[in-house]
């Protein structure tokens, strides 16, 4: 079911005034629906809340939860990053001025016809394969019919009984901090469809406007099996889908922009019960954290009701996640099963795929997150490291490129997860934005390992390269940073420092051996950090202890 938040306010009371406004200029169109009510109906619904404080409630429920099992399934809509929309030549740019990327076709003007963008098929096949699905070599488009102002044709072109891909699964590894563990979740189906426009509601709710920029943008809907059992599992499932679409390059997967939208279905049942409980749909989940928390909230709510003998008040409905209040509230009750009067889209020929086409796409697939994780694991990295490196496409590519240049795998991982990650987090940039090239990181690691520079100098060079770019060799040369490994030269510096600090030397020799650090620091300072620390300490110790 294609969904946007607004579109599912089927009962939204738009009150139209005689001044309903239409402007049509150069194909740009605004439709203004004036309304006099303020908000959606959910405001009037008393939410089912317990009287106990949140703290004590959580504790109670935690105990209760052990007797119940949650069943969670997710419908995900992924907006494809094709250059043009699914059935016309319009581009789609998130955030563009309303009704600026529209044409007669995506406006659904009389007489216009859809022509399928072949990239949509290519992306669907890619995702189907990446999710280990069986592809339908012969599928078709259908019309899903309903009335809403953001749906210009009065139907959505979608796929009904023969989706392009079915029966797959995703593998994922839960984060270590959440207890870790491998999971495999089933994928029921993947199908192609078009997005609808958006309704923009005025601040005071007195009117609504239709923006058709998004109308006709291609989507893939991914329906999971009801295999997830907790908020974190569901959030990680969604995160894995995001990784997969990003690795494939079929979508930017950005939840804030609505490029990845998840609707979750949650039900609970007492452990041991075979039948499913009544399922509740949750919408308005704009982040993985929201998915996690909304589901856990909903599980608690349902378990609480069930354990109080109020299982009947868990009804089939759509609930909205309120980020501010951290709770779900009733949005609308299901008014029976909607009849969308699906029938095959007569304006589009069937979608026929050949085995050769599918094979050519299969062979062109990039390494996917799960394959990367298994490979990194086999390389001997810890699961924490594996997840950090493999779960971000850009980080994984940087890591792979660094290792490919001969860098020690463990050291490369440490640098990336340590100083580089810290820099990226502080500056709020992507690893692609830094000026350090993977081959230079490899060079840096080699230079430290080979003794040309110290680790400390290495760190300095790293930040220099991240900020300004250039090569390791260039910076070393430019700043004269080659490590001093000549024992005679170091000895000279040690002698100087020792002779300049007689008081400390006396204390040292009186047994305050901790002062070695002080001497080491002074020598390092004198060498401008370039002295080989191992040599320095060896020589220093000899000198300090020599006259004993």
């Amino acid at each position: 079911m294609a969904s946007s938040l607004f579109r599912n306010f089927q009962t939204y009371p738009l009150l139209l005034s005689p001044s309903a406004l239409f402007r049509r200029n150069n194909g740009v169109l605004f439709c203004t629906l004036n309304s006099t009510t303020q908000t959606a109906t959910q405001e009037k619904q008393p939410s089912v809340q317990t009287k106990v404080s949140p703290q004590s409630k959580v504790k109670t429920v935690d105990k209760l939860l052990k007797d119940y099992e949650a069943i969670i399934g997710i419908e995900t809509h992924v907006q494809l990053s094709t250059l043009t929309k699914a059935f016309c030549g319009c581009p789609y740019n998130y955030g563009a001025q309303p009704n600026t990327t529209i044409c007669p076709i995506c406006m659904g003007l009389p007489g216009t016809l859809p022509v399928l963008n072949s990239k949509v098929i290519e992306f669907a096949v890619k995702l189907g394969l990446a999710l280990n699905c069986k592809l339908s070599l012969s599928s078709k488009f259908d019309r899903k019919q309903y009335f809403y102002p953001d749906l210009p044709k009065g139907y959505q072109i979608s796929q009904f009984d023969i989706p392009i891909a079915t029966g797959g699964y995703v593998d994922l590894d839960l984060p270590v901090e959440f207890g870790g563990g491998h999971r495999k979740f089933g994928i029921t189906r993947v199908h192609m469809e078009e997005d609808a426009g958006k309704l923009l509601h005025s601040g005071n709710g007195s009117y609504s406007q239709v923006d058709l920029n998004r109308a006709g943008v291609p989507l893939l809907e991914i329906v999971s099996e009801p295999d997830m059992r907790s908020g974190i599992e569901a959030a990680e499932y969604a995160a894995e889908l995001q990784r997969v679409v990003r690795f494939l390059g079929v979508s930017n997967g950005n939840m804030q922009e609505g490029s990845l939208r998840c609707d979750v279905n949650v039900s609970i049942r007492p452990l041991g019960q075979v039948e499913f409980g009544t399922k509740v749909e949750i919408k308005n989940l704009n982040s993985f954290a929201a998915i996690n928390r909304a589901i856990d909230f909903e599980i608690s709510r349902q378990v609480h009701l069930h354990s109080q003998g109020q299982g009947d008040s868990i009804i089939q409905e759509t609930r909205l996640w309120e980020e501010g209040a951290q709770r779900t509230v009733t949005m609308r009750k299901k008014e029976g099963l909607a009849d969308y009067r699906y029938f095959p889209e007569p304006d589009l020929p069937g979608v026929l795929l050949t085995e050769e086409y599918v094979d050519s796409i299969r062979t062109s697939l990039p390494e996917l997150p799960e394959m990367k994780r298994r490979r990194y694991e086999d390389m001997g990295l810890s699961m924490q490291d594996v997840l950090f490196l493999a779960n971000d496409k850009n980080v994984a590519e940087f890591f792979d490129a660094t290792v490919a240049k001969g860098a020690d795998m463990k050291l490369a991982a440490n640098w990336i997860m340590g100083d580089i990650a810290a820099y990226i987090n502080n500056e709020k940039v992507s690893i692609n934005d830094i000026k350090l090239k993977p081959e230079e990181l490899a060079e840096l690691i080699a230079s430290i390992k080979g003794g040309t520079i110290s680790g400390k100098i290495g760190k300095e060079i790293l930040f220099e390269l991240i900020a300004k770019g250039g090569t390791v060799k260039g910076v070393i040369k430019e700043k004269d940073l080659v490590q001093i490994t000549d024992p005679a030269e170091i000895e000279k510096m040690v002698d100087k420092v020792v002779s300049e600090n007689p008081k400390q030397l006396e204390q040292y020799r009186a047994g305050k051996t901790k002062l070695q650090g002080f001497f080491a620091g002074q020598v390092m300072k004198a060498s401008k950090g370039k002295a080989n620390p191992v040599l320095l300490n060896k020589i220093l110790q000899e000198k300090l202890n020599a006259k004993n």
Binding site: L14, L109, P110, T112, R143, Q145, G154, P346, P349
Partner: protein, 516 residues
């Protein structure tokens, strides 16, 4: 005498007195092919222009004069373009000729009437419906664009009226051609709405193979059945117009990528003076179309047409299409289902008339209640019902299965025959309102044509005779059905049939009077 003012120009007075088709143009020499300009208004116009005996301006003026004489009786044009637009186009053409530019498009100076459910950017296209009142599309339909590129002068004709039966809905296009208000015209044919009015009006009507002509810009009624077709006063003109609008269109995914043969060259290569020009052509008369329920006069005219074909050398046999009678219910289920969906966009939100309302559902309901006529509402209800959960299998799906049967039975019949023939309608034109309260009788009038749409085949209707109609006689059309994409064969046969049919004129007397 007052002619009917509506889409079904019943009560035309026809006579068998032969009048000269082209007396308003100076007689011209034939051009290099065997085709004579006396067989074609389009060729006649072309020759007049090239020989500079007549200017485009004079041609347009003669149409405008005739239009002003006939339109008060016909009302076939909803939005006749501004005279000045037509005159300007004619002037531009004359300038071109004056400069000696010889590369005139094949439709140069030809007035093409376009049914107003086909989008034209410079004129309102309202599908004759209140819900689209004053709607002006921002683009030309692909067929309109092609006609303009080839030099044609486009004007809009009467409507696919959403408040009326689409069965004969291209009546305005047919009437306009019959009355010589335009040279040729375009209509749309979902279940026979080019062929039936052609038959009623005594003009040539051509429904091409589904996919031959782009539907882009045709306001969809039933997408899997809709085809844009031609009206003309001769088969040659339909061939020229069809050739102009045929071929793949990247904007219509259902348009065929097959090459388009030169339909006119197929015609011009025929020597109609040959005593048996159609020698050996196998013609199957569909037996189900000559049974009870078909007017006696129509049957006689078709039988006479068959023997005429036999005289031309054809081998006539009766062929049975056992699934023929299933076509009507299957057609009405499929057409209603698709139209219930295609008409959903007329919701008053983006274009057309919007009802004043205080609530969203009421906005939809009132806009559609006021915008659609009762016949359309009935079809939307039927279609929505047929597609509903629980009924889909019994209606829509079953109708699709019937469609497959029909397609197969046509295919088998066309394996054994070059073409099939039948009446274009079970009766001649009936009076407006005659079948208003009997929708089933009205729908039954489509029995001859709907099967062809279900099978997606090309069909040509040529006037073949008359039946008595009270104080007057009414024309009868012969339908010739060909295999998919074999339009050339139908045009060739139709041309010979037309050119050898003796002693009949299908020019309405009113028009003949206006012309003289």
């Amino acid at each position: 005498m007052v002619l009917s003012t509506a889409m079904k120009p019943s009560k035309y007075l026809f006579s068998c007195r032969r009048i000269h088709h082209h007396h308003h143009f100076p007689s011209v020499m034939t051009i290099n092919a065997n085709l004579s300009s006396s067989q074609s208004q389009i060729l006649s116009i072309r020759e007049s222009l090239l020989s500079r005996q007549v200017s485009a301006t004079q041609i347009v003026e003669s149409y405008l004069t005739r239009f002003s004489l006939t339109e008060p009786h016909l009302h076939s044009f909803l939005h006749f373009c501004d005279d000045s637009i037509l005159k300007q186009q004619a002037q531009d053409l004359d300038d071109k000729i004056q400069k000696g530019e010889e590369n005139l498009g094949p439709l140069a100076g030809v007035l093409v009437g376009v049914k107003d459910n086909i989008c034209t950017a410079d004129m309102p296209s309202t599908a004759g419906s209140r819900i689209l009142q004053n709607y002006r599309p921002p683009f030309d339909a692909s067929v309109v664009r092609r006609i303009r590129e080839l030099g044609g002068i486009v004007c809009t004709v009467n409507p696919w009226d959403l408040s009326r039966v689409p069965g004969g809905s291209s009546g305005g296009s047919a009437a306009a051609v019959s009355a010589r208000q335009c040279t040729v015209s375009l209509g749309s044919d979902t279940g026979g709405s080019v062929r039936q009015p052609a038959s009623f009006c005594g003009v040539v009507g051509f429904k091409p193979t589904y996919g031959r002509v782009s539907r882009y810009g045709l306001m969809a009624y039933a997408s899997s059945l809709d085809v844009i077709g031609c009206f003309s006063t001769s088969v040659v003109d339909s061939a020229i117009l069809l050739h102009a609008i045929s071929g793949h269109d990247p904007l219509d995914a259902t348009s065929s990528k097959r090459g388009v043969p030169d339909f006119t060259s197929h015609i011009s290569s025929i020597n109609i003076m040959h005593s048996k020009p159609l020698k050996g052509l196998r013609v199957g008369l569909i037996s189900e179309t000559m049974k009870d329920g078909v007017d006696y006069g129509v049957k006689s005219a078709i039988t006479a047409a068959a023997s005429h074909l036999q005289d031309l050398g054809c081998i006539i046999s009766e062929v049975s299409l056992p699934s023929f009678s299933l076509g009507l219910p299957a057609y009405y289920i499929l057409a209603s289902s698709e139209s219930s969906s295609n008409l959903a966009r007329y919701d008053g939100v983006r274009y057309g008339n919007q009802a004043l309302s205080t609530e969203l559902n009421a906005l939809y309901e009132d806009s559609r209640a006021k915008g659609f006529g009762s016949e359309v509402k009935m079809r939307i209800l039927m279609g929505a019902y047929a597609l509903s959960a629980g009924y889909y299998d019994a209606y829509y799906k079953r109708a699709q299965q019937v469609r497959t049967l029909i397609r197969r039975s046509f295919s088998a019949a066309l394996d054994n025959n070059d073409i099939l023939i039948s009446p274009a309608a079970p009766s001649a034109a009936y009076k407006i309102g005659e079948k208003k309260n009997d929708p089933l009788a009205m729908y039954a009038g489509d029995i001859m044509t709907v099967n062809v749409n279900l099978a997606g085949l090309p069909a040509l209707v040529v006037p073949c005779g008359f039946v008595e109609g009270g104080p007057t006689v009414l024309p009868v059309g012969l339908q010739m059905i060909g295999a998919a994409f074999e339009e050339d064969k139908l045009l060739k046969v139709g041309h010979i049939f037309e050119q050898t049919l003796q002693g009949c004129s299908f020019v309405p007397p009113l028009v003949a009077t206006a012309l003289s």
